[in-house]
């Protein structure tokens, strides 16, 4: 990075993160003034939990976007598959083994996808196909029925509040800080950013592009696995149609956070802020009794607006 680039980046990233924070604050104030049920303690916990789980996946998704691979459309289906597998493995081998095996399988699914993406070169179509395969496998393994688990440890993981904060939010905060640190201060993190910034130059200068894609896909898969495990633990059950349609929320979080679609810019923290914003907005709309259709339209328009806005702000072609 030259100094000119650095100053340009400083000009853009700092306000962008601030925009996210300002938007969250405005939404918080508006919501608590106009909606009496919003600021109640139990509702706040609902929002925090929802934001945390979406946020963990959005952080993983931001790795894919920053590495220049746009999005994965398979996150929600992978979540369902991992939830089913976690429930089955926990029932068979106990909680700890289930946890480890699920994370291992998640990384395996991520690597399989990254291999296909490297071969094919189109992440969206690849993950669209993998998504249906994951969803189908989830139905196959679960026999299309609801799987229940009984585990004290899992219940603690799903519902406990150490220091008054839900475990999901601890995981979210740790994941956000950790992934920010990896992107900023690890060699592989820098490589992810550089591969996204200019794939051709990255290949020419001997960066490990394949490895970068693999790490990005594995990061998303681990995020998805954490979400799946937390959700199954919280409700003590898993089924094949879990998380249906959540993909848009993750993508919306990344886009609203203002991570450059062309890759090479942005940090996972922006995705985390975007996720909080989307979760707040969803909760706010829900409390106002807006129907699913209206909520979806608003999120969709928000996505289109933020893509276009940030695209114009950056003043770059594709």
């Amino acid at each position: 990075m030259t100094s000119q680039d650095a100053s340009q980046r400083a000009k853009f990233t700092i306000p962008k993160t601030a925009y996210g924070l300002i938007a969250i604050l405005v939404l918080l104030v508006v919501a608590s003034v106009t909606t009496p049920s919003f600021a109640r303690v139990d509702n706040i916990f609902v929002v925090i939990r929802a934001a945390s789980l979406t946020g963990i996946v959005a952080i993983g998704m931001s790795y894919i976007t920053i590495s220049g691979n746009l999005f994965a459309l398979s996150a929600s289906a992978l979540g369902a598959l991992l939830a089913v597998l976690f429930a089955l493995l926990t029932a068979a081998f106990g909680f700890a083994a289930g946890l480890v095996l699920t994370l291992g399988l998640a990384v395996f699914c991520g690597l399989a996808q990254s291999l296909a993406i490297s071969l094919i070169g189109n992440p969206i179509i690849t993950t669209l196909a993998f998504g249906t395969v994951f969803r189908g496998l989830a139905a196959l393994f679960s026999g299309n029925s609801i799987l229940r688990i009984e585990s004290e440890a899992a219940l603690w993981l799903g519902t406990a509040r150490p220091l008054g904060i839900p475990t999901q939010s601890w995981a979210f905060i740790i994941a956000a800080l950790l992934s920010w640190f990896v992107i900023r201060h690890f060699k592989i993190g820098r490589e992810i950013v550089l591969c996204g910034a200019n794939p051709k130059a990255a290949v020419a200068s001997g960066l490990r592009v394949g490895l970068v894609t693999a790490i990005a896909c594995a990061a998303l898969s681990i995020g998805v696995a954490i979400m799946a495990i937390m959700t199954v633990s919280q409700f003590s059950q898993a089924k094949a149609d879990l998380f249906m349609g959540y993909d848009f929320d993750y993508i919306a979080a990344v886009l609203v956070g203002g991570i450059a679609l062309r890759g090479g810019k942005g940090t996972p923290l922006q995705a985390a802020l975007g996720a909080v914003l989307i979760a707040l907005l969803q909760n706010f709309m829900l409390l106002h009794g807006l129907s699913a259709g209206v909520r979806m339209t608003i999120v969709g328009l928000l996505v289109i607006a933020s893509i276009s806005l940030f695209h114009i702000l950056q003043g770059r072609g594709r």
Partner: protein, 320 residues
């Protein structure tokens, strides 16, 4: 024999092989009603695949077709009281207009179309839910017989499946023999070169996305008329099938190569497989699993073949 003819023959061979393998187990595959049912089952994904194929040839991709079809389905049933033909015309024109607007935005913003159409995919689905009040919309019971002619069979063709075949021929002619169609190929094959040669980027992008949206609207409206109902959550899986049909049919992911006739080959490869799996008694989710697995197989195989030929060509160039 050029390499393109060779690859088209290979695709045709794959389709025939899939047909023969399944026909050996399923007697209905070579009966007249069985073939008619296969043709009918291909209408939805087929009509949509033509449009998606055009956008892929232009080096872009329209991911919003499923939501567009659902939107058109709801709209067409709600406009049904004004007559079926006017409803169909209005819906197709309106969807075409939406598509043109989408194409214009993609051109103007110079943004990745896959990203932009994901946004419109979400927004259109939401709009569909709003317009339909989140309920399945039905044709009034006393009018339900009026749409029966759409299911009538002439030999093996019904009106929808004949529409599909005519559209394939029409769009194939359009894309290969007209200026506007050639422009779509040009900007997909090499955008920089096309621009340097004086091809406008705006027109082909708008045309491709407009046709894609209009055809998605047509497919949604036809299917909704035939069943007499439309669900705001319908047509979600059709995108995958349409894209798979295009890729098996030889349309390159990078754009600029392939043909609409090829899409028909890809389409029937999937239909033979998926209908066959259903006929053998597999549960419904097995069908989308099969489509997804087929897509992964085809694109990986194609990437591997491309890699090997490139290596061979390079080796030959070095030794020569």
């Amino acid at each position: 024999m050029t390499s393109e003819t060779k690859s088209n023959l290979a695709r045709l061979g794959l389709m025939i092989a899939v047909y023969l393998i399944l026909a050996a187990r399923i007697p209905s595959y070579y009966s007249q009603p069985g073939i008619a049912a296969l043709l009918d089952s291909a209408v939805l994904a087929g009509i949509i695949a033509i449009g998606v194929g055009l956008t892929m040839i232009a080096g872009e991709m329209d991911l919003s077709v499923g939501s567009m079809a659902a939107f058109a389905g709801i709209l067409s049933i709600q406009l049904f009281p004004y007559g079926m033909v006017p409803a169909l015309v209005i819906v197709v024109l309106f969807c075409g207009l939406l598509g043109a607007l989408q194409g214009y935005c993609i051109y103007k913003l110079n943004i990745s179309s896959m990203v932009f159409t994901i946004g419109t995919l979400i927004a259109l689905r939401g709009l569909t839910l709003v317009v339909s009040n989140e309920k399945t919309v039905l044709i009034p019971f006393e009018n339900i017989a009026e749409t029966d002619f759409l299911s009538a069979k002439f030999f093996v063709f019904s009106i929808p499946s004949a529409t599909l075949l005519v559209l394939v021929l029409l769009v194939d002619f359009f894309s290969r023999r007209t200026l506007w169609g050639r422009e779509i190929f040009a900007i997909g094959g090499g955008r920089g070169e096309a621009r340097a040669a004086g091809v406008s980027i705006r027109r082909p992008i708008i045309v491709a996305f407009s046709i894609s949206a209009a055809l998605a609207g047509l497919a949604g409206a036809l299917l909704s008329f035939r069943t007499g109902s439309a669900s705001p959550l319908g047509f979600e899986a059709v995108l995958l099938e349409a894209v798979t049909a295009c890729l098996i049919g030889g349309i390159a992911l990078a754009g600029g190569r392939g043909s609409i006739l090829g899409v028909l080959i890809g389409l029937f490869t999937i239909r033979f497989l998926v209908s066959g799996i259903a006929a053998l008694g597999a549960p419904f989710w097995m069908q989308s699993l099969a489509t997804g697995a087929l897509l992964i197989f085809v694109i990986i195989a194609e990437a591997a073949i491309g890699y090997v030929t490139r290596r061979r060509r390079m080796a030959r160039a070095l030794t020569a």
